[in-house]
Symmetry: C2
Subunit: 205 residues, 2 copies
């Protein structure tokens, strides 16, 4: 692409390095920002600068945090006996958004994947075990992807925690709400039939 | 949405104020940037800062520029006797990208639109007339949208330039290359038949 301005050119280049933003979208964004109010640009610059300089990783759950310990780990109203184990911070936010969970989290930073050369020592598994002891946790909710690697990770963590007095649970798998049965994949539908629940129990959920 | 960090929250807010970026995409972008290398963030911040502080509008063609006069207007290899009139800087870049035009540009900043209360005095029309005189331009290429407002603007500018020794041309309209005739709208197809060219002449284009 050709531009009459090197400044716009480097803005387009920087913006198009972001995921899911191509050259054309980056150009639209750059021109929008260039024509935009001074305030809006300043706000975006301030947000990015503070992200570069001030953003920390919580030393408890390994999610993003503004302070040494994040606002979820510090929140006294949350159930400190339950820890939900997730792969990424994105998964944590997705679960937080549902408003259905009031315990703590633990971000592993991935799952065990022999094919990709990711072993347990590269993940926050040791710290999870330490936390289970420290918090005297009663339940560990495994909210990992329903993949072979996810299952392997659950199996591995389960083994480490076997000797302790803690329940390991996994999030329910089955057909999606509002989904059409005929479009559900065979594996999900099969497991969903095998894992059927008494109607009374379902009512409670 | 809930976040463990106010910093991420304000980054998401700033990013989602951009066009075509919703809350979910903004979150993905913010988390990507937060996990990203220091260099990439710095580059984006530098590009935005320089856009806020250093970006100018060319005092000749009214496109974005790093200096008082933009690189296209200053380029000595461009044909200074032809001016292409466009609505927006986006249109300018789209035409530059084709590599089919070697003249100068003039960005009107919109088209005359009585319904939206945009009159000629709000557009860079006076400056266009002055430039035609200064450059002793031989051709003005009207590359405006094929809408009623676009046509009105061409008509208005044409009247102002009638007395001068300058050719007014408009970009060709017709069916798109690679387009299926049956899907072309009636109006375009109709005009495209009326404006048919001798085969020899088409070969030259």
């Amino acid at each position: 692409m050709s531009y009459s301005s090197k400044i716009i050119e480097s803005a387009v280049e920087a913006l198009s390095s972001l995921p899911s933003i191509g050259k054309k979208s980056a150009m639209r964004l750059a021109i929008h920002l260039a024509s935009d109010s001074f305030d809006k640009k300043e706000k975006l610059i301030a947000a990015l600068t503070s992200m570069t300089n001030d953003l920390k990783i919580c030393n408890q759950c390994y999610s993003f945090s503004d302070t040494a310990v994040c606002s979820i780990c510090e929140n006294p109203t949350r159930d400190r006996s339950t820890i939900c184990v997730v792969e990424t911070i994105r998964d944590l936010i997705a679960i937080e958004d549902t408003g259905s969970y009031r315990g703590l989290y633990h971000v592993l930073g991935g799952v065990i994947s022999p094919l990709e050369g990711i072993g347990p020592e590269q993940l926050e598994i040791d710290t999870l075990i330490t936390r289970v002891d420290e918090l005297e946790a009663k339940e560990i909710v495994m909210a990992l992807s329903p993949t072979i690697d996810g299952e392997t990770t659950i199996f591995y963590i389960n083994r480490l925690l076997e000797s302790k007095d803690v329940n390991i649970t996994t999030i329910a798998r089955g057909v999606s709400f509002g989904g059409d049965l005929e479009y559900a994949d065979e594996f999900t539908l099969g497991r969903s039939i095998k894992a059927r629940l008494p109607y009374q129990q379902r009512q409670i959920l």
